[in-house]
Protein backbone atom coordinates (compact mmCIF):
# COMPACT_ATOMS: atom_id res chain seq x y z
CA UNK A 1 0.00 0.00 0.00
CA UNK A 2 1.31 3.46 -0.88
CA UNK A 3 0.95 6.56 1.20
CA UNK A 4 -1.47 7.99 -1.35
CA UNK A 5 -3.69 4.90 -1.22
CA UNK A 6 -7.07 5.42 0.43
CA UNK A 7 -7.82 2.47 2.69
CA UNK A 8 -11.38 1.55 3.55
CA UNK A 9 -12.37 -0.44 6.63
CA UNK A 10 -14.18 -3.71 5.90
CA UNK A 11 -17.73 -2.97 7.15
CA UNK A 12 -18.17 -6.53 8.41
CA UNK A 13 -15.36 -6.03 10.95
CA UNK A 14 -16.49 -5.21 14.49
CA UNK A 15 -14.59 -2.68 16.57
CA UNK A 16 -14.74 -3.46 20.28
CA UNK A 17 -13.25 -0.82 22.53
CA UNK A 18 -12.65 -3.17 25.44
CA UNK A 19 -10.80 -1.06 27.97
CA UNK A 20 -9.44 2.46 28.00
CA UNK A 21 -6.18 1.50 26.38
CA UNK A 22 -7.08 -1.58 24.40
CA UNK A 23 -9.47 -2.50 21.61
CA UNK A 24 -10.15 -5.48 19.37
CA UNK A 25 -11.00 -5.62 15.70
CA UNK A 26 -12.96 -8.77 15.03
CA UNK A 27 -13.80 -10.28 11.67
CA UNK A 28 -16.86 -12.52 12.21
CA UNK A 29 -16.43 -14.19 8.82
CA UNK A 30 -12.98 -15.52 9.64
CA UNK A 31 -13.06 -15.35 13.48
CA UNK A 32 -9.76 -13.46 13.33
CA UNK A 33 -9.19 -10.77 15.93
CA UNK A 34 -6.52 -8.08 16.08
CA UNK A 35 -5.74 -6.24 19.30
CA UNK A 36 -4.93 -2.55 19.10
CA UNK A 37 -4.59 0.64 21.17
CA UNK A 38 -6.30 4.06 21.00
CA UNK A 39 -4.12 5.14 18.08
CA UNK A 40 -5.13 2.03 16.14
CA UNK A 41 -8.76 2.80 16.91
CA UNK A 42 -8.32 6.36 15.69
CA UNK A 43 -6.73 5.06 12.48
CA UNK A 44 -9.51 2.51 12.05
CA UNK A 45 -12.23 5.14 12.38
CA UNK A 46 -10.58 7.26 9.72
CA UNK A 47 -10.31 4.54 7.07
CA UNK A 48 -13.31 5.71 5.09
CA UNK A 49 -11.94 5.37 1.58
CA UNK A 50 -11.63 9.15 1.33
CA UNK A 51 -8.47 9.79 3.35
CA UNK A 52 -5.07 8.57 2.22
CA UNK A 53 -2.69 6.90 4.68
CA UNK A 54 -0.77 10.16 4.63
CA UNK A 55 -3.92 12.13 5.55
CA UNK A 56 -4.69 9.73 8.37
CA UNK A 57 -1.15 9.91 9.76
CA UNK A 58 -1.28 13.70 9.71
CA UNK A 59 -4.58 13.72 11.61
CA UNK A 60 -3.24 11.25 14.17
CA UNK A 61 -0.19 13.41 14.76
CA UNK A 62 -2.49 16.31 15.55
CA UNK A 63 -4.68 14.28 17.90
CA UNK A 64 -2.07 12.50 19.99
CA UNK A 65 0.60 13.87 22.29
CA UNK A 66 4.20 12.94 21.65
CA UNK A 67 3.58 11.32 18.28
CA UNK A 68 7.07 10.23 17.18
CA UNK A 69 8.39 10.83 13.69
CA UNK A 70 8.09 7.12 13.07
CA UNK A 71 4.30 7.38 13.49
CA UNK A 72 3.65 7.41 9.76
CA UNK A 73 5.70 4.26 9.18
CA UNK A 74 3.96 2.48 12.02
CA UNK A 75 0.53 3.52 10.82
CA UNK A 76 1.33 2.36 7.31
CA UNK A 77 2.58 -0.99 8.66
CA UNK A 78 -0.58 -1.36 10.75
CA UNK A 79 -2.84 -0.66 7.76
CA UNK A 80 -0.84 -3.08 5.62
CA UNK A 81 -1.18 -5.82 8.21
CA UNK A 82 -4.94 -5.26 8.35
CA UNK A 83 -5.12 -5.29 4.55
CA UNK A 84 -3.28 -8.62 4.38
CA UNK A 85 -5.88 -10.13 6.73
CA UNK A 86 -8.89 -8.78 4.85
CA UNK A 87 -9.77 -6.21 7.52
CA UNK A 88 -9.12 -3.36 5.11
CA UNK A 89 -9.53 -2.80 1.40
CA UNK A 90 -8.53 -0.01 -0.96
CA UNK A 91 -10.86 2.51 -2.53
CA UNK A 92 -10.09 2.25 -6.24
CA UNK A 93 -9.48 5.41 -8.23
CA UNK A 94 -12.39 6.21 -10.53
CA UNK A 95 -10.98 6.78 -13.99
Amino acid sequence: MNQTDRPIANPIVVLREEFDDWAVLFNPDTAEAVGTNPVGVAVWKRMDGKRSIEDIAAEIKNSFEDAPDAAFKEIAAFVNRLAENGFVGLELESK
Partner: protein, 376 residues
Protein backbone atom coordinates in the same frame (compact mmCIF):
# COMPACT_ATOMS: atom_id res chain seq x y z
CA UNK B 1 0.41 0.61 17.10
CA UNK B 2 2.90 2.46 19.26
CA UNK B 3 1.91 2.12 22.90
CA UNK B 4 3.52 5.41 23.89
CA UNK B 5 1.01 7.55 21.97
CA UNK B 6 -1.61 8.91 24.32
CA UNK B 7 -5.13 9.86 23.31
CA UNK B 8 -5.86 13.48 24.18
CA UNK B 9 -9.57 12.78 24.56
CA UNK B 10 -10.21 11.56 28.13
CA UNK B 11 -11.35 7.93 28.14
CA UNK B 12 -13.54 6.64 30.98
CA UNK B 13 -11.85 4.47 33.59
CA UNK B 14 -13.24 0.95 33.72
CA UNK B 15 -11.88 -2.36 34.94
CA UNK B 16 -14.43 -4.55 33.20
CA UNK B 17 -14.79 -4.70 29.42
CA UNK B 18 -17.31 -2.18 28.22
CA UNK B 19 -19.64 -4.87 26.90
CA UNK B 20 -19.70 -8.68 27.10
CA UNK B 21 -17.76 -10.52 24.42
CA UNK B 22 -20.17 -13.42 24.28
CA UNK B 23 -23.51 -14.59 25.58
CA UNK B 24 -25.08 -17.94 26.31
CA UNK B 25 -28.70 -17.76 25.28
CA UNK B 26 -31.25 -20.39 26.22
CA UNK B 27 -33.20 -19.86 23.05
CA UNK B 28 -35.94 -22.29 24.07
CA UNK B 29 -37.28 -24.03 27.14
CA UNK B 30 -38.49 -27.00 25.11
CA UNK B 31 -36.58 -30.23 24.60
CA UNK B 32 -37.19 -33.51 22.77
CA UNK B 33 -35.54 -35.43 25.64
CA UNK B 34 -35.92 -35.68 29.41
CA UNK B 35 -32.47 -36.65 30.67
CA UNK B 36 -32.25 -37.98 34.21
CA UNK B 37 -29.48 -35.56 35.18
CA UNK B 38 -30.71 -32.47 33.33
CA UNK B 39 -29.81 -29.24 35.15
CA UNK B 40 -32.32 -27.25 33.10
CA UNK B 41 -35.64 -28.91 33.88
CA UNK B 42 -37.14 -29.04 37.38
CA UNK B 43 -35.16 -25.97 38.36
CA UNK B 44 -37.36 -23.76 40.56
CA UNK B 45 -35.54 -20.63 39.32
CA UNK B 46 -36.47 -21.26 35.69
CA UNK B 47 -39.53 -19.95 33.86
CA UNK B 48 -40.40 -22.39 31.07
CA UNK B 49 -41.71 -19.99 28.46
CA UNK B 50 -40.39 -19.29 24.95
CA UNK B 51 -40.12 -15.85 23.42
CA UNK B 52 -41.26 -15.16 19.84
CA UNK B 53 -38.58 -14.67 17.20
CA UNK B 54 -39.12 -10.91 16.95
CA UNK B 55 -38.11 -10.45 20.62
CA UNK B 56 -34.85 -12.27 19.99
CA UNK B 57 -34.23 -10.37 16.76
CA UNK B 58 -34.62 -7.04 18.57
CA UNK B 59 -32.20 -8.26 21.21
CA UNK B 60 -29.68 -9.42 18.58
CA UNK B 61 -29.76 -5.89 17.14
CA UNK B 62 -28.79 -4.60 20.58
CA UNK B 63 -25.96 -7.15 20.79
CA UNK B 64 -24.73 -6.05 17.37
CA UNK B 65 -24.65 -2.42 18.47
CA UNK B 66 -22.60 -3.43 21.53
CA UNK B 67 -19.99 -5.30 19.47
CA UNK B 68 -20.76 -8.73 20.95
CA UNK B 69 -18.69 -11.28 19.06
CA UNK B 70 -20.42 -14.56 19.69
CA UNK B 71 -23.59 -16.17 21.00
CA UNK B 72 -23.98 -19.76 22.14
CA UNK B 73 -27.49 -21.05 21.63
CA UNK B 74 -28.61 -23.52 24.28
CA UNK B 75 -31.85 -24.66 25.82
CA UNK B 76 -33.62 -26.94 26.26
CA UNK B 77 -32.74 -28.19 22.83
CA UNK B 78 -32.07 -25.25 20.49
CA UNK B 79 -32.73 -27.22 17.29
CA UNK B 80 -36.35 -27.65 18.40
CA UNK B 81 -37.09 -24.09 17.29
CA UNK B 82 -38.84 -24.15 13.93
CA UNK B 83 -37.80 -20.52 13.29
CA UNK B 84 -34.08 -21.19 13.81
CA UNK B 85 -33.01 -19.95 10.33
CA UNK B 86 -34.66 -16.59 11.00
CA UNK B 87 -32.85 -16.33 14.33
CA UNK B 88 -29.51 -17.25 12.77
CA UNK B 89 -30.01 -14.65 10.07
CA UNK B 90 -30.48 -12.07 12.85
CA UNK B 91 -27.22 -13.16 14.46
CA UNK B 92 -25.31 -13.05 11.17
CA UNK B 93 -26.79 -9.67 10.24
CA UNK B 94 -25.43 -8.29 13.49
CA UNK B 95 -21.89 -9.42 12.71
CA UNK B 96 -21.73 -12.20 15.30
CA UNK B 97 -20.66 -15.81 15.22
CA UNK B 98 -22.65 -18.58 16.84
CA UNK B 99 -22.36 -22.03 18.36
CA UNK B 100 -24.81 -24.55 19.81
CA UNK B 101 -25.18 -26.83 22.81
CA UNK B 102 -27.33 -29.70 21.61
CA UNK B 103 -28.31 -33.32 22.11
CA UNK B 104 -27.91 -33.77 18.35
CA UNK B 105 -31.20 -35.60 17.77
CA UNK B 106 -32.98 -32.89 15.78
CA UNK B 107 -30.14 -31.89 13.47
CA UNK B 108 -30.98 -32.58 9.83
CA UNK B 109 -29.37 -31.86 6.48
CA UNK B 110 -31.51 -28.81 5.84
CA UNK B 111 -30.52 -26.90 8.97
CA UNK B 112 -26.90 -28.10 8.78
CA UNK B 113 -26.62 -26.80 5.20
CA UNK B 114 -28.12 -23.49 6.26
CA UNK B 115 -25.67 -23.13 9.14
CA UNK B 116 -22.70 -24.07 6.99
CA UNK B 117 -23.85 -21.53 4.39
CA UNK B 118 -23.62 -18.66 6.88
CA UNK B 119 -19.91 -19.30 7.43
CA UNK B 120 -20.39 -18.13 11.02
CA UNK B 121 -20.87 -21.37 12.92
CA UNK B 122 -18.01 -21.98 15.37
CA UNK B 123 -19.10 -25.43 16.50
CA UNK B 124 -22.00 -27.55 17.63
CA UNK B 125 -21.49 -29.30 20.94
CA UNK B 126 -23.32 -32.62 20.98
CA UNK B 127 -23.70 -34.69 24.14
CA UNK B 128 -22.57 -38.29 23.86
CA UNK B 129 -22.54 -40.24 27.10
CA UNK B 130 -21.74 -43.77 26.00
CA UNK B 131 -19.96 -45.90 23.44
CA UNK B 132 -23.26 -47.62 22.61
CA UNK B 133 -26.99 -47.01 22.87
CA UNK B 134 -27.40 -49.07 26.03
CA UNK B 135 -25.08 -46.84 28.06
CA UNK B 136 -26.00 -43.50 26.50
CA UNK B 137 -29.75 -44.08 26.57
CA UNK B 138 -29.71 -45.16 30.24
CA UNK B 139 -29.87 -41.51 31.31
CA UNK B 140 -31.01 -39.76 28.15
CA UNK B 141 -33.82 -42.01 26.93
CA UNK B 142 -34.38 -44.60 24.24
CA UNK B 143 -33.25 -43.65 20.75
CA UNK B 144 -31.18 -40.68 21.92
CA UNK B 145 -27.82 -42.32 21.11
CA UNK B 146 -28.82 -43.00 17.51
CA UNK B 147 -30.10 -39.43 17.25
CA UNK B 148 -26.88 -37.96 18.60
CA UNK B 149 -24.67 -39.99 16.27
CA UNK B 150 -26.89 -39.23 13.29
CA UNK B 151 -26.62 -35.53 14.20
CA UNK B 152 -22.83 -35.72 14.44
CA UNK B 153 -22.54 -37.44 11.08
CA UNK B 154 -24.82 -34.84 9.49
CA UNK B 155 -22.67 -32.01 10.87
CA UNK B 156 -19.52 -33.75 9.68
CA UNK B 157 -20.97 -34.08 6.18
CA UNK B 158 -21.50 -30.33 6.13
CA UNK B 159 -18.02 -29.68 7.55
CA UNK B 160 -19.35 -28.08 10.71
CA UNK B 161 -17.06 -28.50 13.70
CA UNK B 162 -18.44 -30.96 16.24
CA UNK B 163 -17.45 -30.65 19.89
CA UNK B 164 -18.61 -33.68 21.84
CA UNK B 165 -19.25 -33.43 25.57
CA UNK B 166 -19.40 -36.54 27.75
CA UNK B 167 -21.28 -36.12 31.02
CA UNK B 168 -20.03 -38.73 33.45
CA UNK B 169 -22.50 -40.48 35.76
CA UNK B 170 -22.96 -43.83 37.49
CA UNK B 171 -24.02 -45.67 34.32
CA UNK B 172 -21.11 -44.67 32.11
CA UNK B 173 -18.20 -44.37 34.52
CA UNK B 174 -17.09 -47.91 33.64
CA UNK B 175 -17.42 -47.21 29.90
CA UNK B 176 -14.93 -44.32 29.64
CA UNK B 177 -12.24 -46.31 27.85
CA UNK B 178 -14.75 -47.49 25.24
CA UNK B 179 -16.18 -43.98 24.90
CA UNK B 180 -12.74 -42.52 24.20
CA UNK B 181 -12.06 -45.24 21.61
CA UNK B 182 -15.46 -44.75 19.98
CA UNK B 183 -15.24 -40.94 19.76
CA UNK B 184 -11.58 -40.52 18.87
CA UNK B 185 -10.81 -43.65 16.87
CA UNK B 186 -14.12 -44.66 15.30
CA UNK B 187 -15.89 -41.31 14.82
CA UNK B 188 -12.55 -39.62 14.13
CA UNK B 189 -13.21 -36.56 16.29
CA UNK B 190 -10.11 -34.49 17.04
CA UNK B 191 -10.99 -34.28 20.74
CA UNK B 192 -13.83 -34.30 23.25
CA UNK B 193 -14.68 -32.71 26.58
CA UNK B 194 -15.92 -34.17 29.83
CA UNK B 195 -17.78 -33.07 32.91
CA UNK B 196 -20.01 -34.86 35.38
CA UNK B 197 -23.65 -34.76 36.41
CA UNK B 198 -24.18 -32.14 39.08
CA UNK B 199 -26.73 -31.71 41.83
CA UNK B 200 -29.07 -29.41 39.92
CA UNK B 201 -32.54 -29.53 38.38
CA UNK B 202 -33.86 -32.98 37.48
CA UNK B 203 -30.67 -34.54 38.81
CA UNK B 204 -31.62 -33.66 42.40
CA UNK B 205 -34.52 -36.14 42.20
CA UNK B 206 -32.31 -38.88 40.71
CA UNK B 207 -29.12 -38.14 42.61
CA UNK B 208 -28.70 -41.61 44.13
CA UNK B 209 -28.87 -43.32 40.71
CA UNK B 210 -26.95 -40.73 38.76
CA UNK B 211 -24.27 -38.92 40.77
CA UNK B 212 -20.88 -40.55 41.18
CA UNK B 213 -20.11 -41.87 44.66
CA UNK B 214 -16.62 -41.57 46.13
CA UNK B 215 -15.36 -44.86 44.65
CA UNK B 216 -16.71 -43.94 41.22
CA UNK B 217 -15.19 -40.47 41.39
CA UNK B 218 -11.83 -42.05 42.15
CA UNK B 219 -12.26 -44.43 39.23
CA UNK B 220 -13.32 -41.64 36.87
CA UNK B 221 -10.35 -39.48 37.81
CA UNK B 222 -7.83 -42.28 37.45
CA UNK B 223 -9.29 -43.49 34.14
CA UNK B 224 -9.47 -40.01 32.62
CA UNK B 225 -5.94 -39.10 33.69
CA UNK B 226 -4.71 -42.32 32.10
CA UNK B 227 -6.72 -41.74 28.92
CA UNK B 228 -5.54 -38.13 28.51
CA UNK B 229 -1.98 -39.45 28.53
CA UNK B 230 -2.85 -42.24 26.09
CA UNK B 231 -4.68 -39.89 23.70
CA UNK B 232 -2.14 -37.10 24.07
CA UNK B 233 -4.32 -34.25 25.33
CA UNK B 234 -7.34 -35.00 23.15
CA UNK B 235 -9.59 -35.21 26.21
CA UNK B 236 -10.37 -31.96 28.01
CA UNK B 237 -12.55 -30.59 30.80
CA UNK B 238 -13.55 -27.40 32.55
CA UNK B 239 -15.25 -29.22 35.40
CA UNK B 240 -15.86 -32.76 36.61
CA UNK B 241 -13.50 -35.60 37.49
CA UNK B 242 -10.69 -34.71 35.09
CA UNK B 243 -10.54 -31.10 36.30
CA UNK B 244 -10.81 -32.21 39.94
CA UNK B 245 -8.15 -34.87 39.43
CA UNK B 246 -5.67 -32.43 37.93
CA UNK B 247 -6.41 -29.64 40.41
CA UNK B 248 -6.35 -31.85 43.48
CA UNK B 249 -3.06 -33.40 42.41
CA UNK B 250 -1.51 -29.93 42.19
CA UNK B 251 -3.02 -28.88 45.51
CA UNK B 252 -1.73 -31.97 47.32
CA UNK B 253 1.77 -31.59 45.85
CA UNK B 254 1.87 -27.92 46.85
CA UNK B 255 0.64 -28.64 50.38
CA UNK B 256 3.06 -31.53 50.90
CA UNK B 257 6.00 -29.42 49.71
CA UNK B 258 4.88 -26.27 51.58
CA UNK B 259 4.81 -24.27 48.35
CA UNK B 260 3.67 -20.61 48.30
CA UNK B 261 -0.04 -19.95 47.82
CA UNK B 262 -1.41 -20.29 44.29
CA UNK B 263 -2.36 -17.18 42.38
CA UNK B 264 -5.89 -16.41 43.62
CA UNK B 265 -5.58 -19.26 46.13
CA UNK B 266 -7.21 -18.85 49.54
CA UNK B 267 -10.10 -16.82 48.16
CA UNK B 268 -13.41 -17.49 46.47
CA UNK B 269 -12.23 -17.43 42.90
CA UNK B 270 -14.32 -19.10 40.28
CA UNK B 271 -14.26 -19.30 36.54
CA UNK B 272 -14.02 -15.58 35.76
CA UNK B 273 -17.06 -15.90 33.47
CA UNK B 274 -18.81 -12.73 34.74
CA UNK B 275 -15.94 -10.69 33.30
CA UNK B 276 -16.38 -11.98 29.75
CA UNK B 277 -19.88 -13.23 29.25
CA UNK B 278 -23.44 -13.19 30.47
CA UNK B 279 -26.48 -15.41 29.97
CA UNK B 280 -30.12 -15.08 29.02
CA UNK B 281 -32.86 -17.49 30.08
CA UNK B 282 -35.51 -18.72 27.63
CA UNK B 283 -38.06 -16.29 29.10
CA UNK B 284 -35.75 -13.33 28.46
CA UNK B 285 -34.38 -12.83 31.97
CA UNK B 286 -30.73 -11.76 31.95
CA UNK B 287 -28.70 -13.79 34.47
CA UNK B 288 -24.95 -13.94 35.22
CA UNK B 289 -24.66 -17.60 34.23
CA UNK B 290 -26.96 -20.54 33.44
CA UNK B 291 -25.84 -22.08 36.72
CA UNK B 292 -27.13 -19.01 38.57
CA UNK B 293 -30.56 -18.83 36.93
CA UNK B 294 -32.16 -17.36 40.05
CA UNK B 295 -30.03 -14.18 39.95
CA UNK B 296 -32.21 -12.03 37.65
CA UNK B 297 -30.34 -8.92 36.52
CA UNK B 298 -33.00 -7.57 34.16
CA UNK B 299 -34.97 -8.47 31.02
CA UNK B 300 -34.04 -8.30 27.37
CA UNK B 301 -35.56 -5.40 25.41
CA UNK B 302 -36.66 -3.77 28.69
CA UNK B 303 -33.31 -3.14 30.35
CA UNK B 304 -30.11 -2.00 28.68
CA UNK B 305 -27.60 -4.84 28.52
CA UNK B 306 -24.68 -2.40 28.61
CA UNK B 307 -26.09 -0.78 31.75
CA UNK B 308 -26.53 -4.17 33.45
CA UNK B 309 -23.08 -5.29 32.36
CA UNK B 310 -21.36 -2.22 33.74
CA UNK B 311 -23.43 -1.34 36.79
CA UNK B 312 -25.47 -4.27 38.08
CA UNK B 313 -24.70 -4.59 41.82
CA UNK B 314 -25.37 -8.36 41.73
CA UNK B 315 -22.99 -8.86 38.81
CA UNK B 316 -20.30 -6.72 40.40
CA UNK B 317 -20.70 -8.65 43.64
CA UNK B 318 -19.98 -11.86 41.71
CA UNK B 319 -16.96 -10.26 40.06
CA UNK B 320 -15.67 -9.25 43.46
CA UNK B 321 -16.08 -12.69 44.93
CA UNK B 322 -12.31 -13.10 44.78
CA UNK B 323 -11.98 -10.64 47.68
CA UNK B 324 -13.66 -13.10 50.08
CA UNK B 325 -11.07 -15.18 51.98
CA UNK B 326 -11.69 -18.89 52.57
CA UNK B 327 -10.42 -18.45 56.13
CA UNK B 328 -13.72 -16.70 56.90
CA UNK B 329 -15.79 -19.85 56.35
CA UNK B 330 -16.58 -22.27 59.13
CA UNK B 331 -16.62 -24.90 56.37
CA UNK B 332 -12.90 -24.37 55.71
CA UNK B 333 -11.74 -23.93 59.33
CA UNK B 334 -8.31 -25.48 59.89
CA UNK B 335 -7.95 -26.77 56.31
CA UNK B 336 -4.35 -27.08 55.14
CA UNK B 337 -5.39 -26.68 51.48
CA UNK B 338 -6.62 -23.09 51.91
CA UNK B 339 -3.63 -21.39 50.15
CA UNK B 340 -4.19 -23.62 47.11
CA UNK B 341 -7.99 -23.70 47.00
CA UNK B 342 -10.38 -21.40 45.13
CA UNK B 343 -13.75 -22.64 46.41
CA UNK B 344 -14.77 -23.50 42.83
CA UNK B 345 -18.07 -22.99 40.95
CA UNK B 346 -20.51 -20.56 42.62
CA UNK B 347 -23.43 -22.22 40.79
CA UNK B 348 -22.85 -25.59 42.38
CA UNK B 349 -21.95 -23.88 45.66
CA UNK B 350 -25.37 -22.24 45.57
CA UNK B 351 -27.41 -25.37 44.83
CA UNK B 352 -25.61 -27.31 47.57
CA UNK B 353 -25.47 -24.64 50.30
CA UNK B 354 -28.07 -22.04 49.31
CA UNK B 355 -25.29 -19.42 49.20
CA UNK B 356 -23.51 -18.08 46.12
CA UNK B 357 -20.64 -16.76 48.22
CA UNK B 358 -19.63 -20.10 49.65
CA UNK B 359 -17.10 -22.74 48.56
CA UNK B 360 -18.68 -25.56 46.58
CA UNK B 361 -18.75 -28.68 48.80
CA UNK B 362 -18.69 -30.77 45.64
CA UNK B 363 -15.20 -29.55 44.74
CA UNK B 364 -13.85 -29.65 48.30
CA UNK B 365 -10.69 -31.76 48.43
CA UNK B 366 -10.70 -32.08 52.21
CA UNK B 367 -14.25 -33.44 52.23
CA UNK B 368 -13.46 -35.82 49.37
CA UNK B 369 -10.49 -37.25 51.30
CA UNK B 370 -12.44 -37.45 54.59
CA UNK B 371 -15.14 -39.46 52.81
CA UNK B 372 -12.60 -42.04 51.63
CA UNK B 373 -11.36 -40.43 48.42
CA UNK B 374 -7.76 -40.59 47.25
CA UNK B 375 -5.76 -38.51 44.81
CA UNK B 376 -5.03 -40.35 41.59
Amino acid sequence: MPEELKDKTEPTVSKVMRTPRSLIIEITSRCNLRCRYCYFFNNPAMVYRDLPANEWLTFFDELGSLGVMKVTLAGGEPFIREDLPVLLEGIVRNRMRFSFLSNGGLINDEIAAFMAGTGRCEYVQVSVDGSCAEVHDSCRGQGSFDGAIRGIRTLQRHRIRVAVRVTIHRNNVHDLENIAHFLLDELGLPDFGTNSAGYMGTCCGNADDVLLNIEERKEAMATLLRLTAKYDGRISSNAGPLTDGRMWRRMEEARAQGKPAFHNGGRLTACGCPNNKISVRADGAIVPCNMLAHVELGRINHDSLAEIWQNSPALNQLRNRHSIPLTGFEFCAGCSYIPYCTGNCPGLGYTLTGMVDHPSPDACLRRFLEEGGAIA
